[in-house]
């Protein structure tokens, strides 16, 4: 099947039910999305499929055929940070950092919809992403910083 990831088309020969995560990681070498739980609970594997937030560990690759898949590598890089990534750097959110690809992809999609969120809206949007190190206070702060930046303030 053909998959479009971060603007590049790839031809892959995989079972239709292989989760998108494992196609990205093991077949294409795109390792920003992480394996955490395998059951769509922790959110470390979060990517966008046609702009929609999905848990790639539980999303069959065949469902993403013909769609535009975006991983954390596709929204910015160390030399050209996305506003949300820049906020994550400024606030020094990461400890182990393993959940942060998923946190950032969830936050970036959320802020695209709502660039002036209330505290409750931030809590609602981000509470399905697990962090074992306890970076939640810094995630909240980084989202507020990114929102300010996205509003051009």
């Amino acid at each position: 099947m053909q998959l479009n990831v971060n603007g590049t088309a790839y031809e892959v020969d995989v079972e239709p039910d292989m989760p998108l995560l494992w196609v990205l990681r093991d077949e294409l070498g795109i390792t920003g999305p992480k394996y955490g739980c395998g059951v769509a609970f922790c959110g470390a594997c979060t990517v966008w499929v046609d702009g929609m937030v999905v848990r790639s560990c539980s999303y069959p690759a065949s469902a993403a055929e013909d769609a535009q898949i975006t991983t954390i590598e596709g929204i910015g890089n160390p030399d050209a940070l996305h506003a949300v990534q820049a906020a994550w750097v400024e606030e020094q959110v990461a400890q182990c950092g393993y959940c942060q690809s998923g946190q950032i992809m969830t936050a970036a999609a959320f802020l695209q919809e709502n660039n002036n969120p209330s505290d409750t809206e931030i809590d609602d949007a981000m509470s399905a992403n697990l962090c074992r190190c306890g970076t939640y206070p810094k995630i909240r702060a980084a989202i507020k910083r990114a929102a300010t930046s996205l509003r051009g303030e």
Partner: protein, 745 residues
């Protein structure tokens, strides 16, 4: 079998005084070439000035041998070297270095002993000297015990200073100028005439020079880095998905693998039938392992699928199959025969508590470490060497154990330590690496990446100890008068060190740490540890003994203070006999406006614990909303003597509080039919973002020694929460997780 393997199989009697004295591993003495493992790989013109500073034409690499599992260890170690070396973190590379005896952990040796950090008696100091020698002897290059900064604070600065002075001496030899007239700055030696020579250019000359033995360290007033907020060396990579963790590694021609073992950790496999799995797409090989099978395939998911398709009959669990039996074992362990230590016995508890007493039971469950990155290892087996890439806290154990397994020499086992997606003590084990090696031996020459599924990782976690406490006490004249705490748990050291063929002796200080070593003066004060028989296999879980014992101690102290009709913070301040400890408690009192009235349905709780030498106090504020308990706010203060990086300190404090609260709220590991019932995060949630309180942090620097911060914020969190819930609801929680008794919103 190599020397390391032989030594690690020995029992180390560190309690014995026989070999005390003669411990001479000066931090300034890096004299003989065998002390420096970096020299092996150098080529002409490159220098390894101490085992911590490597300079090549490409630039300066700082060796940071304590592994980074998220606690910022690489940055903090690099900053300590860079402070004296006069380089900045944006111009150096950071590398964990090879496994080597020279990177042994002095501070961990101290922590393993049954003496409090402030105990400077001859016996305590002699025992520390012996343990230090033992650690050096076997070269325990271990990351753990919140020791990275405590161990490295002087050692790493000295390494930087020695390297700097050597570079100046090299510049003196080349230029003819006097070294004492030179300055150093941003990786350059600056000559008296203003000419600048880069460290890289001086490396060939410096490599041939004798290192100075005594170099003074700079006064704190002149520090450029220590105490200032730094940008972590890994922060950009970790914010862009470009940080490579062990699980992300890729090599040409690499195979993917997984294992499936008896869900009762340590149980055998009676029989298996792999015929269905063998025919599945992508499967290269199915391999029998101790207690299970491994699958080698061309993709991790295919390996997972095939592992699940193997039909297996499991052997019986090597511990009681049902949870009730675990608790019953603890319940039966409060006997004279099981008495393991009594570190505190002031006044006359027996006489005072003969009649009017409160007698209660407390419980703390098994817990999993469950870092978000499951364990993995890439292994390549060559003709005469094995390369292993993995996130680990114990590279030297891996080296010794893989040598034992394969018959190769330890120096032929090359362990490349990787960045870790969390650990909390999980990666102090190396059984997963041995499984990966067994699999890679089936396909010599090809790199094999073995990854545990989340379910395999949860089922084979070496758990936080289960523990039970029995408490008695009484108040008199508005004060706590008698406090008698008895704790029973299986020995964590015996379980964990036993798997490495080591023993630290019969007495396990972990059974009483966090309770029997606290700086309170209570007129009648006794803490007793009882060693229960081994049950499920155990390991160090962030803050180890203190994670259960501070809950028992600080909750019951709170009960007695309430029974006395005293104020929980004021009475603790009265009872604390240590100024540094009182300082952190006064700080949270000040931060939280302790004593000011709260609305109905709200409550404040306080707790204190000193662990790993660091005193920490926490105040938790909660509201009983009617729909459940909401944690509104936490105030936390700690005294580490000296904060190396305020940003990292803040992150560790908040993270430690959240870790402690989250597990106390809703986490436990239980057994049914010999299996862990919690298979994945949906049954082991911890705190979620919406539940996270605002956390206010204060750092104090009054303590006499530089101590760690990775673990100490954890122990006071659970009792502070329980005490706050009591203040708000008058419901006393004596068992974790609290979600068995209250709802959290």
């Amino acid at each position: 079998m190599g020397i390391v393997s032989k030594i690690t199989r020995r029992t180390l009697l560190v309690g014995s005084m026989a070999v005390a004295g003669g411990v001479a591993f000066g931090i300034y003495a890096y004299k003989s070439p065998q002390d420096n493992p970096l020299l092996d790989d150098l080529t002409e013109g490159e220098a390894a000035l101490t085992p911590y500073v490597m300079i090549t034409a490409a630039g300066v690499t700082l060796i940071t041998p304590r592994a980074d599992k998220g606690q910022g260890a690489y940055s903090v170690q690099a900053a300590l070297i860079a402070e004296e070396l006069d380089v900045d973190l944006d111009q150096v590379s950071v590398d964990p270095g090879p496994p080597s005896a020279v990177y042994y952990n002095t501070a961990l040796a101290n922590e393993a002993l049954p003496f409090s950090p402030s105990d400077q008696s001859n016996i305590a100091n002699a025992a520390r000297a012996v343990a230090d020698a033992a650690m050096k002897f076997i070269g325990m290059q271990i990351t753990g015990g919140s020791t990275t900064v405590a161990d490295g604070f002087t050692k790493l600065r000295a390494a930087g200073a020695i390297a700097r002075e050597t570079l100046k001496a090299a510049a003196a030899q080349e230029s003819g100028h006097d070294a004492s007239q030179m300055r150093t700055e941003r990786g350059m030696v600056i000559l008296p005439n203003g000419e600048r020579i880069s460290y890289a250019r001086l490396a060939p000359t410096a490599a041939k020079m004798r290192l100075p033995e005594n170099v003074g360290l700079r006064d704190p007033s002149s520090w450029r880095l220590i105490g200032k907020s730094m940008q972590r060396v890994d922060i950009v990579a970790k914010s862009t998905g470009t940080q490579t963790y062990g699980i992300d590694l890729r090599f040409d021609d690499m195979l993917h693998a997984t294992v499936r073992r008896n869900p009762a950790n340590g149980g055998a496999m009676a029989s298996y039938d792999a015929s269905a799995a063998e025919g599945m797409r992508g499967v290269e090989k199915i391999v029998e392992l101790p207690g299970g099978v491994g699958v080698i395939a061309d993709n991790t998911w295919r390996a997972f699928q095939a592992a699940n398709a193997v039909e297996i009959e499991w052997g019986d669990p090597p511990f009681p199959a049902e949870m009730d039996a675990h608790w019953a074992t603890l319940s039966r362990s409060f006997t004279a025969e099981n008495l393991n230590s009594r570190p505190l016995d002031a006044g006359n508890v027996e006489a005072v508590l003969s009649d009017e007493t409160i007698e209660l039971e407390y419980r703390a469950p098994y817990l999993a470490h469950a870092p978000l990155e499951p364990v993995s290892a890439v292994v390549q087996v060559g003709d005469s060497r094995i390369d292993i890439w993995t996130g680990t806290q114990v590279p030297r154990f891996i080296q010794a154990n893989v040598a034992d397994l394969t018959g190769l020499k330890p120096e032929d086992i090359h362990v490349h330590v990787q960045m870790m997606g969390g650990s909390f003590g999980h990666r102090l084990e190396d059984d997963y690496v041995l499984h990966a090696v067994r699999l890679a031996m089936e396909v010599p020459g090809r790199p094999v990446k073995m990854t545990y599924s989340r379910e395999e990782d949860m089922a084979h976690d070496y758990l936080r100890q289960i523990a039970m406490a029995r408490v008695r006490g009484t108040a008199r004249n508005g004060q706590v008068h008698a406090f008698d705490l008895s704790i029973a748990m299986p020995s964590v050291s015996e379980s964990q060190m036993g798997r490495q063929g080591l023993s630290l002796g019969e007495t396990d200080p972990i059974i009483v740490t966090g309770a029997g070593d606290q700086p309170y003066s209570i007129p009648n004060y006794r803490v007793t540890g009882y060693k229960a028989p081994q049950l499920a296999p155990l390991s160090s879980w962030r803050s180890v003994g203190a994670s259960t014992n501070a809950f028992f101690h600080e909750s019951f102290l709170d009960e007695l203070i309430h029974a006395a009709g005293a104020d929980p913070l004021e009475e603790r301040l009265r009872l604390l006999n240590d100024a540094t400890a009182r300082g952190v408690l006064e700080a949270v009192g000040d931060m939280s406006n302790w004593g000011t009235p709260m609305e109905r349905g709200r409550g404040r709780g306080v707790a204190f614990a000193r662990s790993f030498g660091t005193p920490v106090a926490e105040v938790v504020e909660v509201t009983d909303t009617g729909n459940g308990i909401r944690i509104d706010k936490v105030y936390v203060a700690a005294d580490v003597g000296r904060v190396v990086d305020p940003v990292n300190f803040d992150n560790m404090m908040k993270g430690g509080v959240i870790f402690g609260l989250g597990h106390a709220m809703n986490c436990e590991i239980t057994f049914a039919n010999g299996r862990i019932e919690q298979e994945n995060f949906y049954a082991f949630e911890g705190m979620k973002l919406y539940q996270c309180p605002d956390i206010e942090v204060r750092a104090l620097e009054n303590g006499p020694a530089v101590t760690g911060i990775g673990e100490p914020p954890v122990p006071p969190a659970a009792p502070a929460l329980a005490n706050a819930i009591y203040a708000a609801t008058r419901q006393r929680l004596r068992e974790m997780p609290f979600s068995k008794f209250v709802t959290f919103v």
